[in-house]
Amino acid sequence: MKMDIAFGQYCEGNSILHRLDPRAKLIISIIYIVVLFLAKNVFTFALLTLTTMALVILSGISLRVIAGGLKPILFIALFTAIINIFFFTGDTLLVDLKIVKIYLEGLFNAGLIVLRIVLLIVSTSMFLTYTTTPLALTDGMERLLSPLAKIGVPVHDFSMMMTIALRFIPTLIEETGKIMNAQKARGADFTSGGLIKRARAIIPIIIPLFVSAFRRAGDLATAMECRCYTGGAGRTRMNVLHAKWYDFAFVLAVTALGAAVVLMNIYLPGYTVTM
């Protein structure tokens, strides 16, 4: 079993979005999500669709990759759309099937809500998953949350745990493959039988995997101790993050976008979405 997983689906690249400080990207993502939920009418949605499209172009990531990333949410989007189409009551009746009535407003609402979900996924993946390595993300998060360490939140410990987990995912996957092969060589069958039989066949894989993971953890702890690791206190970092002008520019731009959306909600009423 040769699996080369790219967790978080990071796409190699050197666009401005790739180069943004991970801290800035985290902040921007949060603001962008809030802005998406503030959007109420057609005009604001049109604006946000444009900005999200601009992000996609900026990132240089192919549309096929992005479309692939949307697949998992297809069901949720469809489900929300159907609920909205069939159960929304408006003024303009389109189809009357006695039991269910479909209104124009329902269709309209469904469209905007699906659009919101799509924009949500595309924009956050533009800022985070596609353009930021999981390691940079952990790092950014540690530094953003570092003030919390003063009130006793173990920020460093959590980020160290994340870093080690990320480091060992490929190692453990490789090991799972080895164990599966070893069990297959002993006549184990993972592919036939019902659900329960298959679930049971997993046990001889899980147990050796756990045992070995614990042994690795013990070894790693010893090795870390030998390298003078004593926790977060007094530790420095080789790569220090420096926020550049474009990090601030991006945060400002997204904040301005939020302000624009709020203003448009107030001054351009009509075609409002309800959710």
């Binding site: 390691l135 870093t163 080690i164 990320l166 480091r167 490929p170 190692t171 490789e174 042994r215 690795r216 070894d219 790693l220 010893t222 090795a223 870390m224 101790e225 030998c226 390298r227 003078c228 690791y229 004593t230 007094g234 530790r235 420095t236 970092r237 080789m238 790569n239 220090v240």
Partner: protein, 292 residues
């Protein structure tokens, strides 16, 4: 000559539990390691060599005996956490399994890990990391992910992590045992470079005779005791002693030893294949001329 490590009458016991009896892993072990030397500790499984390494790295506390690191006593009641931290800054260790000692998912981040723990300024860490990677010949893999490297390369990354901390002494605890012959050669070359060029004191724990033969001094362990010490030449010229301890001798030594037993006048302290061949040729020629 200054001693980096001095061990006196060291004893170590693994405490038993239930029906499991106590196991005495080290019994009255004494030796010294000179600064800048290359010492090999040789022994088969269960001879106490890894226990010895963990005591030297302050990972386990001995039952009795004394360990001095750079002249400072590191065993007993008075040793503080500060002392232990200080000793670990001087003595580094490279373990057997390369996978289980790499912390970060980027090579250079992992090399930086130890220096970051020491609290060095970022520019200094960057310089040391680049130098260390250069030293083990892994500079071009700086931004790679460790899990895609070969065993030998991973082990060299682990060594770079130890070098970057500028340790006086590095202990290699069977660091080549899990590698293929290619990886083993890469790592051995790196170890020799560190010792000969960079002047790092090296303690190599191994059960490969060929590796031990490259050291300045060999300490042979058996059943928790020091069986014999000396230069590789001295130690391997008594093959019976090693055979009794279930250890092999290098192939060259075994060949020369058998020839000597058969009555050929050859030296035993040769570990290089070419030199060995030359020695045999010389002895055979000498014998021929004597017969004539």
């Amino acid at each position: 000559m200054e001693n980096t490590i001095e061990v006196k009458n060291l004893c170590f016991t693994y405490e038993g539990y239930g029906d499991v009896p106590d196991v005495e892993a080290l019994h009255d072990v004494s030796f010294t390691v000179e600064k800048g030397s290359f010492t090999a500790i040789l022994g088969h499984n269960g001879s106490g060599k890894s226990t010895l390494a963990s005591v030297l790295c302050m990972l386990s506390e001995p039952a009795s005996g004394e360990v001095y690191i750079n002249g400072k006593l590191m065993t007993g009641e008075d040793v503080t956490d500060e002392d232990v931290f200080d000793a670990r800054r001087r003595v580094g260790m490279v373990f057997q399994n390369p996978d289980n000692q790499i912390v970060a998912s980027v090579v250079e981040e992992d090399v930086a890990f130890g220096c970051e723990n020491l609290g060095l300024p970022p520019a200094e860490i960057r310089r040391r990391v680049d130098d260390a990677l250069e030293c083990v010949g892994m500079r071009k893999y700086a931004r790679h992910s460790p899990h895609k490297l070969s065993g030998g390369q991973k082990q060299r990354v682990a060594i770079a992590g130890v070098i970057a901390m500028k340790r006086d002494c590095i202990i290699f605890d069977e660091s080549t045992a899990m590698l293929d012959p290619m990886g083993r050669r890469e790592v051995m070359e790196t170890i020799e470079y560190l010792n000969k060029v960079e002047g790092v004191t090296v303690i190599l724990i191994t059960h490969y005779m060929e590796e031990a033969a490259r050291a300045d001094r060999v300490i042979v362990m058996n059943g928790g005791r020091v069986l014999t010490t000396g230069t590789p030449g001295e130690v391997f010229s008594e093959p019976e002693l090693l055979w009794d301890a279930d250890l092999d001798v290098p192939q060259t030594t075994e060949l020369l030893y058998r020839m000597k037993k058969a009555g050929l006048d050859v030296r035993l302290d040769i570990f290089d294949f070419e030199e060995c061949a030359a020695e045999i040729a010389r002895a055979v020629k000498k014998r021929q001329s004597e017969v004539k």
